[in-house]
Subunit: 438 residues, 2 copies
């Protein structure tokens, strides 16, 4: 590390520039440490709005923010654009695609990725949506399939291209279902005069008995009502059996012909090589103590989605949400400074600020402590919270303008196929079906 | 074609949704014709601002606009997302990737692509910038190479990654040179504290004796002065001999080590198969008569960059600029209606509204008729003209906000590496040079 000031401060290496990693780096800003963030992407992704990128209502750059630019005023911060291949806790280094990097303190903030629960077919054919490139692929696929439908003449032929099956009815699935329903209700016949609304269907599937299983009964009911009114088929208590790129089959025999399966049914931690398997908990998360330290190490931390803080109070760890990552990031920065100063550390306590999910125009559900409400006011809060949480003034303004535009016109967003998405699920030979009329 | 109204109006097929094609479609909006636009991209690209996408100051979606959305109110318009593989003027059809499509009138508005003048090495290793995917590739390459430079310790090692060589000093080359110089002067040391301004160099090369060869002497001089003051090395009267991905060599022996060669030294028309070679003019353009009709055909038109209207008044055709395409598009729409009505047609006359090129903050050059001026006022006009020409209110606002933000902060733009650019010029094994310190 070639920090210009040649400082001999302890070096904190942070793997990952998500909500957690960002917070650690920020809170160490004025502290006597070197901060080195390593991420394969040179930007922070505001994951809660990825679904709006996938449906073409927000552009990718609006929900991403350059890590370098974000910290350009922070003198003790350095960034490296690299992937971590292995961590070596016994010698306090990490192996990366740009070489071996030593650390004094290591923070693993690698987040999570889509969990296909070992089903290789589904992994191959279904679309995940956990990163910006994935959301852009999904956007291309959705738009390409609508273009394909335009070329076909019967409802039956069009069905597979215009059936959207979202597996997993957590916030991502619910928000995506709402956005696709709005695309169908407000935009489809306007932009694609060849099609009819009735040709497109949105299915939201979960094996749990209700949508938004992590939220209150009231939120579930509110969301289900909103979705149903918007024309989404909500299929709860339904388990996916298989998907071969053309037909998704459910346990019990039902099936749907579709080229569009979007999988948000589960996540799993992204654990770097070099972590002992016997400290990996459910969901591929790294077991930590009550100050986020990886079991067995005094200077290695895990925070956010990749961490499982197993204590008496939290026997299953914490939910995989941004607030947990942010609060753990905050706490870890504090803990590192306490360790450097030989001060006692304090156990992490999660403060649950509540949960929000939006379904569409004027429609959201909110669980804020004992307050549970649905509708316009929840939607206003949802927008406000997401706008202020976005990194960068420019992004806030651009997203705000997009939302205002969409609200006024019912037809926001650019919906561009910048790079075609090509998969075996949609081989080129069937992607270009010949027109049958002329 | 399955137009819902089952109309039997004559069908005008337009190949390409650039400035020219767009104009034809728009002007035929209220006319008794079917309009069918075919483009492999589902969006119009505002090419004059591509360089700002490449340098990361504008996001791609801001300078693109959905063709479907643009014409969603025009009842006689249909769009097909397809590539044209061949035109068959003898039977009035075109072959496309979605099948054969018949036309009554055909407008070839396919534009131009980068001309490497047959040099395969340069074509392989240099970066073109004529489309949004190309501009995004360039953005990734520029940012990746700066990240590589960060990993190296000496000026000499860094040089190839931080030398930017722009070949072709037309508006694109000049504007890109200015934008890269601003990146160096205002952003480099701020976002990349490991680097120094002096490590980055921008070269603007042309074999002509002056920059902006198509504009006035005053404009050339103004642009050269601005560029030189900003630290750009302007090398005119210099011809490129070769580029192998590492070293660009010029006639006369000089060479520059660089991983970044951006080629805007020429364009050539994109001529669909099926056009007879003996009506292809210089620059791979299709010869037309004075009403834009392709030589030898009564119902096939070529407009914009792909057209060479060879008349006594314009023995070399028209310049390859947006204004020509727009005016030809306008005129062609009118001519088609005149032909349908058996009315006499009028020869096309180009009205030159003038030329503008921007170099950077407060710096532009303008040739407006006899008025030739440089500096702040030209820059204001440049911004105004580009803003009002952008399609879509949202795009105008978003670009405006980005520009205001950049102006106020000297550090606009997102500069994200969304998808890594990998080329043989930068094989992965050298792209990840090991850090030599730690």
């Amino acid at each position: 590390m070639n920090l210009k000031d040649g400082s001999k401060f302890p070096r904190v290496v942070i793997i990952g520039g998500g909500f957690g990693g960002l917070q650690v780096a920020k809170k160490l800003g004025d502290k006597p440490v070197e901060v080195l963030m390593v991420d394969k992407h040179n930007y922070h992704t505001f994951q809660p709005l990825l679904y709006q990128v996938a449906t073409g209502s927000l552009e990718a750059d609006s929900i991403a923010f350059s890590l370098r630019k974000n910290f350009s005023d922070q003198k003790n911060f350095r960034y490296r654009n690299a992937e971590v291949t292995k961590i070596n806790p016994e010698k306090n280094t990490i192996d990366t695609t740009i070489g071996e990097l030593p650390y004094d303190y290591l923070v693993i903030a690698t987040g999570s990725t889509t969990n296909f629960f070992g089903n290789k077919d589904i992994e191959h054919f279904a679309m995940p949506m956990k990163s910006i490139p994935e959301a852009l692929n999904l956007r291309s696929l959705i738009l390409q399939n609508i273009e394909e439908a335009v070329l076909l003449n019967t409802k039956e032929d069009r069905e597979p291209y215009l059936n959207f099956v979202l597996v997993g009815a957590g916030p991502t699935g619910v928000e995506l279902a709402g956005a696709l329903a709005e695309l169908r209700n407000n935009i489809l016949t306007c932009d694609y005069p060849e099609l009819e609304k009735e040709h497109m269907s949105v299915y939201l599937v979960d094996f749990l008995p209700r949508v938004l299983g992590a939220m209150s009964q009231e939120a579930s009911k509110g969301a289900t009502d909103f979705l149903t009114k918007m024309g989404v088929d909500v299929l709860t208590g339904v388990k996916v059996e298989s998907y071969d790129g053309s037909v998704i089959k459910f346990e019990g025999g039902r099936s749907i012909r579709t080229k569009n399966v979007i999988w948000s049914a589960g996540v799993m931690g992204v654990v770097p090589a070099g972590i002992n398997k016997n400290i990996i908990e459910r969901g591929n998360r790294i077991r930590t103590d009550s100050v986020c330290r990886v079991a067995g190490f005094s200077n290695v931390f895990a925070i956010g989605d990749v961490a499982a803080m197993i204590t008496d109070e939290t026997p299953k760890g914490h939910p995989g949400v941004a607030q947990v990552a942010i609060q753990m990031g905050n706490h870890t920065a504090k803990t590192i400074i306490q360790l450097i100063n030989n001060e006692p550390t304090e156990p992490f306590k999660y403060f649950d600020k509540g949960s929000l999910a939006t379904i569409g125009r004027n429609k959201a559900v909110a669980d804020l402590g004992k307050l549970k409400f649905q509708g316009f006011f929840a939607w206003m809060i949802w927008m406000f919270v997401h706008l202020i949480s976005l990194l960068g003034f420019r992004n806030k303004i651009v997203v705000f303008i997009n939302w205002v535009g969409s609200y006024l016109t019912y037809n926001g967003g650019a919906r561009l196929i910048i790079r075609r998405y090509v998969t075996e699920a949609i081989p080129e030979k069937t992607a270009y079906l010949p027109k049958t009329d002329g």
